[in-house]
Amino acid sequence: MTIPKDTLLSLYRTMVRIRRCEEQLARSYAAGTITGACHTYVGEEAVATGVCAHLRDDDAVFSTHRGHGHALAKGVPPGALVAELFGRATGCSGGRGGSMHLFSPEVGMMGTSGIVGPCILQATGAGYSFQLKETDQVGVAFFGDGAVNNGAFHEGLNMATIWDLPVLFVCENNMYATEIAFKDSARNTDVAGRAAGYGLHAEAVDGNDVLAVYEAAGAAVARARQGGGPSLIECRTYRTRPHAEGMRDGGYRSQEEIDSWKARDPISAFAQSLLDDGAVTAADLQTIDAAIVAEIQEAVVFATDSPWPDATTVADHIYAGTV
């Protein structure tokens, strides 16, 4: 697969955008600007980036508590994300959602969920819509290893498979659900193998290798668009920050393990390989780095300057008001 330079740079840009934004959110959390929980995606940027590079605005992404990266990769502007976590009216969910409820249907970001599991079913439902309407859109679910042992995984994969729905299931296997190791929650930790048992296309890739993800997702998305049914990609990756900001990160995993994964940082690795291949120049990357720094600063200013939601609207839109 030869990938155009533009695409390579775009993948790099998305990953850096996610990283810088997450680091900013972590600082804002520490500063008390963000209330509620804040689960960062640091270390896992290659997954959302590699998958969403193949998606259009009218493809539907459903995500989890750890959803900032998915939102950004799907096209939610950093300002709308930061403002949401700051609880402002200009946030992508109007301040109603916060970190775990990011909605931006305009760009096909159909929500993150604070409950583990539903995204799998909802992506299946999007696939159902698209098949019924005979479009070539795709439904995509991102979820962690923790969701694999939940009934939603079983029921969703099965329905998508028997009905040949255009759905892509992306499992971000970062080996832990909060502090519980995946190997203690499942005897068989081969998610792709388990998924294949349902009869869909399934493969495992290095989730820290953006090109590996990009390639696998490209094939799966194309297959789904062409009526070839669902696929699952297990992306083996790692979060290098605590489960959520403000939580401890010791006791359940070793510093050696964390360090070994930090050494496999998806952004540095990708940058290095691009430079090694001569595909891009250091200047190319520095330009992006600088632009992203500015972009995130602007996002913070935008969020900080944004108004709070109007409390008199607090009960609006519970119903559509059509009947």
Binding site: G97, E106, T124, L132, H154, W163, H317, V323
Partner: protein, 327 residues
Amino acid sequence: MAAREINFTEAAREALAAAMTRDPTIFVLGEGIGIRGGNFNTTLGLFERFGPRRLRDTPICERGFVGLCTGAAMTGTRPVVDFMFIDFILDSVGELTNQIAKIQYMTGGRLKMPVLLRGCVGIGGGAATHHSGSYYPLFVNVPGFRVVVPTTPYDAKGLLSTALRCDDPVLFLEHKSLLNVRGEVPEEDYQIPFGQARLCRQGTGVTVVAIGPLVPKCLAVCDTLAAEGISVEVIDPRTLAPLDMDTILVSVRKTGKLLVADESFGPCGVGAEIAAQVMAQGFDDLAAPVRRLNGVHTPTPYSPPLEAAVVPSMDQVAAAVRDLAAE
């Protein structure tokens, strides 16, 4: 020309067929709702007209297909879940409460959630405790749902037609004992707005708000009570969310006495809500405390004499009205 009579199930099916003809984004999920036409004939004959994508037999995974419907509604289709027995909804309460009910709100109205959830409720025929539930108070308690409990074929058709145009999640609950009841139903499509009670019988002495099968039970004792000198006004709320409190309050202003008769459980039930609202808004109209008549607060037993003992009977309705009238 004599008006046409059909039964409750046929009336609801007409509304569904008309809506599916009109709106190609409607599809139905459930177990045996395809070729089989539904355990309760809710979809009989529709598979032949609309095919397998729009009448989809599912695996037995209620949580899963309710979750599927969430995503489907978010992406522009209009799913109908046919639960057969509404008891099976319980495995999907997480998807309903945390997802379906909340998404319009969380998106500030940018997404609509036109999901119709239907199924049979109620006690009867020895169905026993896993096939006799009602459970609607939950969906009145949690914001985001419309809850519809029709009692006549006419209302079933008109309310289902409304439900299939409504952009909110709607529970459409069909009491087993009413499915074969026949009544006059126009051939053409029509809608009955949610939140409009039906005044089933006018009276001056006691108001009865009756829910579901308690409507016919109550109407059946009104003549006897009238002969005793007790004039009963009977109201069928038709939808429990929204609840047409105005009609109830107007009636209570006249009668001063209210009985809420409901097969479903009493504690934190619909009768409690109506009682509390009537007290809050019509306290001075009340000549006696609002009374509630509910099914016995117990799992539903199988054996005929036990089953009969848990359901509010016509005699109990009549006795409660008499007591109220005497106060």
